[in-house]
Structures are given as structure tokens and as C-alpha cells.
Symmetry: C3
Subunit: 116 residues, 3 copies
């Protein structure tokens, strides 16, 4: 079976955007099946705030999706620019040095790109 791969891009701190992208990921896994598609959410800019432990609006949904194999990734340039510390982020989150590099490399490896 072909494995599909997609990186979702979030760069706005808007709650309705974050809710939308998480719903998108839920729908995608439900429709294709957890084993048919590899999913990553790359947040940069002010979008990294979706990962804040406090107030943690999306903590439960992110942890649940992480359990289904989704990777949640934050851009370190953006964290530094916003003075956000590692301890401020949910445990489910991984860090990459530059979010844009991640987006370029994933696409060069054949991943689809979706910007909700």
C-alpha cells in the first residue's frame, strides 16, 4: 500500500485556524486510515503558540493525535523571537531549528503541503 505524506503549516495565532487544522488532521486520518498517511504539523511564526502548555486549549486533542502517529513540530527561530521556553511547550512537541527549512525539505522528499 502506498504511504501518503503531508505536512500541515500553521503560522497564525488564531484559535479558529488552529482548531481547523486539527480537525483537518482528524478528518484525514479517519478518511485514509492511520497507517496510510504520515502527518506532521509544522508551526512557525506566531503559530507556535498553539503548543503552549498554558492555557493548553488543544492539549487533549494534540496528545490524542500524537498517539495516532502525528508529529507536532515547532520552529526554534520563532520560539526565540517570541521568548518561549521549551518548558512552556506541551510534551508532544518537537523542535526544529528553522520551520521553513523543514517545509522545504519535506516537500523535496515528496510530502504534500497544506496551508489551512
Amino acid at each position: 500500500m502506498k504511504l501518503y505524506q503531508v505536512v500541515f503549516h500553521l503560522d497564525e495565532p488564531i484559535e479558529i485556524k488552529a482548531r481547523g487544522v486539527l480537525t483537518n488532521i482528524d478528518n484525514l486520518l479517519n478518511d485514509m486510515g492511520d497507517d496510510a498517511v504520515q502527518v506532521e504539523l509544522l508551526a512557525n511564526g506566531a503559530g507556535v503558540q498553539v503548543y503552549l502548555r498554558n492555557p493548553g486549549i488543544f492539549q487533549e486533542q494534540i496528545d490524542r493525535l500524537k498517539g495516532r502517529g502525528v508529529r507536532f513540530v515547532a520552529c526554534n527561530n520563532s520560539l526565540r523571537a517570541l521568548d518561549i521556553q521549551l518548558k512552556d511547550l506541551m510534551d508532544s512537541v518537537e523542535i526544529v531549528p528553522a520551520g521553513v527549512t523543514e517545509l522545504v525539505m519535506k516537500q523535496s522528499e515528496g510530502w504534500a503541503y497544506i496551508k489551512p
Copy 2:
């Protein structure tokens, strides 16, 4: 002649966004030629409202572009979430079960992706 392929993504209910994406598609066909490029507009989230028969602001433009070969596609998850029925949609619209799956599969087949 190489056939180019592109899926446009619309997920906002903002009239100026919808107008912009339809103008983009018009410009693309005029510039490349109707036979040189295959175009699909995938609407999900609140973006599916562009397809509402009522008030049907974009009905004429969508029907005309459909006549030039453009596919207009709506996400069924989004229609259900917004309680929109098939009869509420313009005749030119096709339904897919999940818009995000459509975006992933099209890109995996080599289609370009544009998010106006």
C-alpha cells in the same frame, strides 16, 4: 505538450478570497490556454459556502469556468458540519468524502497546490 495540473484550495467564507481565487483561475486559463492546464478548486471548511446556490454570487463565473474544464469540488465533512444539503449547492459542484484527502492525493499525483 506537457499537461500542467493544479489544485486551488479555498477554506474561508470571505467573499474577496473567493473572488480572488476565481480570478486566479481565469488568469491561469487565459495565460496557459484551456488545454494546457487541468484545474480543480477544492473547497473545505467554511470555504464550501462559495458553492451555495443561494445567494449564488459566483454562480455565473463558476458555471462559465466549469464550461472551460475546471472541476469544482466540495468536502463532504465540511458540508455535514455546516448542515449544508446537496440541493443547496450549485449543479457544477462535485463532492468528495474528505477535502484534505483530495489535496494529499492530488499532490502525490504531481499536481501543484495554490492557496490564495
Copy 3:
């Protein structure tokens, strides 16, 4: 060494968006290295206003990035629609007939696409 390629897409006249995309490009070059990645910023719609010589908010940053190899491209359809003349644009800017065609062709050649 593999050469990565990416086209950034800007279609909004919002200053914070323009500032964000230029920061993205800076971060990308700093992270990957100027010789490892080819970068283009394609502006269409009202996004072309980022290139206006007057007030020229981003003139210095654009000229500096151009010196690092970044191409700054504007859609001629959009310039005409907004009645912007060539002489109104910064010297660093190149024109293409249709921005959407540029986005489709670049991706068909394997370039990544990022819409900040």
C-alpha cells in the same frame, strides 16, 4: 550537494504578512546557506504592493536579499488590475505575465511551495 528550491507566495497587502515572509526567507538562507537553496518570492493580487518604491518599507531588506540571490517577482495581471506602473516598483523586481502560471510551473519543476 543537493540544491533545494522554493517559491514563497504573497497575495495580501498586509504589512505583517510581508514582514513575515521576508523574515522566513532570511531564516531559510541563514539556516540552509545561500548556496544550498534557490528562493523566489512571487507576489500577486494586492501582494504586489510590497514592491512599491513608495513608501518602500521593505526596500532595504528586499535589496539585501536580492544580493543573496533571492528573486522577487510580480504578476503583471495584478499590476494592471491595480494600475501600478513599472516605474512605481523597486529595481529589484522582475515581472511575469501571470503569477499563477509561475506558481504552477515552478512546482511542476520540483520547487517547494510555501504560503506564509
